[in-house]
Symmetry: C2
Amino acid sequence: MSDDSCLVAKLSHYSHLSRSDRALLARLEENEEEHERGSEFLRHGDPVDHLYVVKAGWLYSYHDLPDGRRQITRIHHPGDVIGQADLPFRNVTGTTRACIDVCICPFPKTALDEVFATSPRLAALFYALSARDQVIYLDMLRAMGRMNARERMAHFLLDLLARLRVTNSMLTDTFRLPLTQSEIGDALGLTSVYVSKTLTAMEQIGDIKRVGVMIRIVEEARLAEACDFEDRYREMNTSWFPAETVDAV
Amino acid sequence: MSDDSCLVAKLSHYSHLSRSDRALLARLEENEEEHERGSEFLRHGDPVDHLYVVKAGWLYSYHDLPDGRRQITRIHHPGDVIGQADLPFRNVTGTTRACIDVCICPFPKTALDEVFATSPRLAALFYALSARDQVIYLDMLRAMGRMNARERMAHFLLDLLARLRVTNSMLTDTFRLPLTQSEIGDALGLTSVYVSKTLTAMEQIGDIKRVGVMIRIVEEARLAEACDFEDRYREMNTSWFPAETVDAV
DNA sequence: CGCGCTATTGATGCGTCTCAAAATGAGTGG
DNA sequence: CCACTCATTTTGAGACGCATCAATAGCGCG
């Protein structure tokens, strides 16, 4: 029950976790795997039998079309659980790829039945996170459907910043973005060429600044207004959760 | 515990429900409200305190931008639960509007704590449905990001067809589409003008046929191939659910 | 019968794509 | 420490899909 669990860290940001809940979660991170940059350890069509807790590194999931067009649907950071959305299906719907060398903890999906059977509160938390993710996707949908390239880019960058801040409150306005412009394009429904032009334009205006793989969000408030950004990560309302099981800390 | 509950009908399509589970669900539909076509009973910013089971009618939820651009993010049919995605937030993130006269059943979000506390299996089912919805949104995201107008339209129509078939297995290839072209545009990230042009083109090719508000999917297979459509509604894998509580039918 | 909303059609404009070439940068081996 | 390679980014010219604007036609409804 060591405290170096990313999952426990991320979840307890939203709700108090009892000792037994922590133990339950720790079991999900018992095993580790390393994968190097570029590897795809979960592919479209694979059977759904494991979920993965990200321990270190960045990854992304994408959904492609038969002709090669692809859409990156989610960036995964340490503490995220990969694969939850595919649980109700027999086969994995997307492909997951490591942006950089990563360490992930696989656990069998059947481990979830114990969570649901023994910890109503943890079950509610998983459910709430799933609901939260839905809203994230709705935000993205609105961005893809109704925003132009610059607004989408602003939304994308602010979303990353907000997520990184959950686990790293030190973070101010600069972070490492280990994605190629082609990947950013696949996330935003743009071409790599237009991503380059958009970033250059944003930099000239002074909204952002780039140095190598580092990116600095200079005019955060202005960008947030341009894309009507809302931080969905900072807090969650858990008032409707079932009462905590009696099990003092 | 009458069998006319849309919610029970829809959920038991995916998993066997015990008698107590049915009773729990029936309680969620105790109260009814009627709203007429065009009314918006849930608005962006309202406090999140109730969820709604759709009993009759069609509705849609949309997310808008300050300048009026809007994205319709979900069409709701009988048996759907509205508002789950907003549970972790203090305020509702989108606005919901009735396409036609509707009957909905509000229930307090706190009713969910009883579901989680007393029926692990039902809790898992809610969680699975939430995961399923995530995949729906990922499909939509891929469509919005990487498909052209005709492909998006095909995806939209096939999605509606698949959903209607869950509760109405009689349905073959024709259904009533109570949306204006402007609303369809807002759902697909297009203008109403281009929706008109796209539908006309699809009709001329022979892929669809329109008569008033009725639409017929003529070349279903061809459309499905064009947009790489997968039916996410037909079945769900529930093998990882916790065991059923002993409570004979 | 006429009013208002919705759908259609056509002309024009703009944002992003496509294609192609050059520039930059990171990693590798000599 | 430099030369080379390969991936990535930048830049520019031209094309295309969808938006915009505007006018007309159709239709449900009082």
